[in-house]
């Protein structure tokens, strides 16, 4: 497990998502990266339906990452991230009476994986309830465990492929700079972005 940076790629005006993904893939291949299968990160959200005076309304996000296929990440909206076996899904089903899945909230990012030296580049298209919402890029550098050490290195790679997309590191990553990076950090980055996409989608709908 190395360090991971997840960031959205803003689709330029007048281009379809598919075009941009194709373009990005070409660029990455040009760099010398080789295809290494596909990946998928998905997220489902459960909402508490019991009005217990002790607990306010809660959201629990359940995420899976194909990089850790036997693991299930559960994040409460307070930010607490539980790393558990994939059987945690079954436990969530046992809580049907208390937590119910929010309809139309399933969001996922899937796409192609590329390996380039010790880097892993993933180009994922975000699908909210199966409709395309945007592009999420993930860059992982395996050998290092501290983001602070290799941020410049990663930035150089990202910029060499995608242009000046990340001048400053995302806020979430900035606070993680000097602590050892773990799989749950990746998931939390994804969740942050997923929540952003959802908000945008609902805002769009409202408009």
């Amino acid at each position: 497990m190395g360090v991971v940076c997840v960031f959205p790629y803003i689709i330029p005006e007048g281009k379809s998502g598919l075009q941009v993904v194709d373009c990005l893939q070409k660029q990455v291949e040009l760099l010398g990266a080789v295809k290494a299968g596909t990946f998928c990160v998905d997220c489902e959200t459960y909402q508490s339906n019991f009005s217990n005076t002790t607990t306010p309304q809660r959201l629990v996000h359940i995420l899976h990452n194909s990089e850790q296929p036997a693991t299930c990440f559960a994040i409460v909206d307070t930010g607490n991230c539980l790393v558990a076996d994939s059987q945690f899904d079954i436990l969530m089903q046992r809580l049907k009476g208390f937590y119910q899945q929010r309809k139309g909230f399933k969001i996922e990012s899937k796409g192609q994986r590329y390996e380039y030296g010790d880097f892993l580049i993933k180009i994922g298209s975000v699908l909210l309830a199966s409709s395309f919402k945007g592009i999420l890029l993930e860059v992982e550098y395996y050998p290092c465990a501290y983001l602070g050490d290799c941020w410049n290195l990663m930035k150089e790679l990202i910029q060499s492929v995608m242009g000046n997309v990340l001048e400053t590191p995302p806020a979430f990553l900035k606070q993680k700079f000097n602590s050892e990076y773990g799989p749950s950090d990746t998931i939390q980055q994804y969740l942050e972005h997923f929540n952003g996409f959802r908000k945008a989608a609902s805002a769009n709908q409202a408009r």
């Binding site: 307070t78 607490n80 602590s179 773990g182």
Partner: protein, 263 residues
Amino acid sequence: MRSKRRILSQFFIVSNFSMMKIEHEYSSITWPNVLDNFALLSGQLNSLSRLLKSEKIPPLKNYVLLPLALSPDKDLDLEKLTEGRLMIFNHEVVPVYLRTKPEPEVEEKFTELTCRVGISAHDNPQSYMVYSQGKAIKTENMLVEDATVTRKQLNTLNKITSNILDIINSARDEWESEANQKSAQPQTSSMADTNSLIQAITVGKGLKQPTPRRSENSHQNNNNVNSQQQSQKAPQSATISKAPSTIKTNIKAGSANHPYQRS
């Protein structure tokens, strides 16, 4: 008849031969050889006994002998047959030689004596001495001796019987104690304990802190929890999405006053 004779002669030959061998060639004879001979011998013995058992050969068991003719004359053949012991086969010798039972007087005496011996077993030998005065002393003494022998045997028998009885009794005691133990075995597990343990781990009976009934002060309790929750949230909101290690310290911080309140 013939087969019997044959077998007998074979048997004697073999046994003689092996005996001779054992006696004279013990230094050179080999063990397998000895065993071979022995097997041969035992085979012979087997067939011999089988032959004797079978009903075909009654003559070996008994002969009926009838004096057909008595004569006062000297019988040369008889003399030759008996190697000079019996010369005349007349009415005087026949009852003696062909008798199968003792004389009536002897028989009578014999039964009398056996009767007495039977009695004497229960009597004191001294009194018996007195009782049997006037009779032939020798017989008496023999009787007394017999009596003591009988007594001795009786005593030993009694002893043996009582020993056996003891053994049986002790064995029975053992069995019974074992059986008792077996009946005491259920004490290795107790149903009450099983139930209490299962209750404890399934519903927490006996494990919950002695708190008042929930319905009575659920409100107060809830308030308590609420405040607890808030106090717990306060540090957490600050450390949202931190590494697990910081959360651990959170637990520790909360342990000063137990954070997991029972609802």
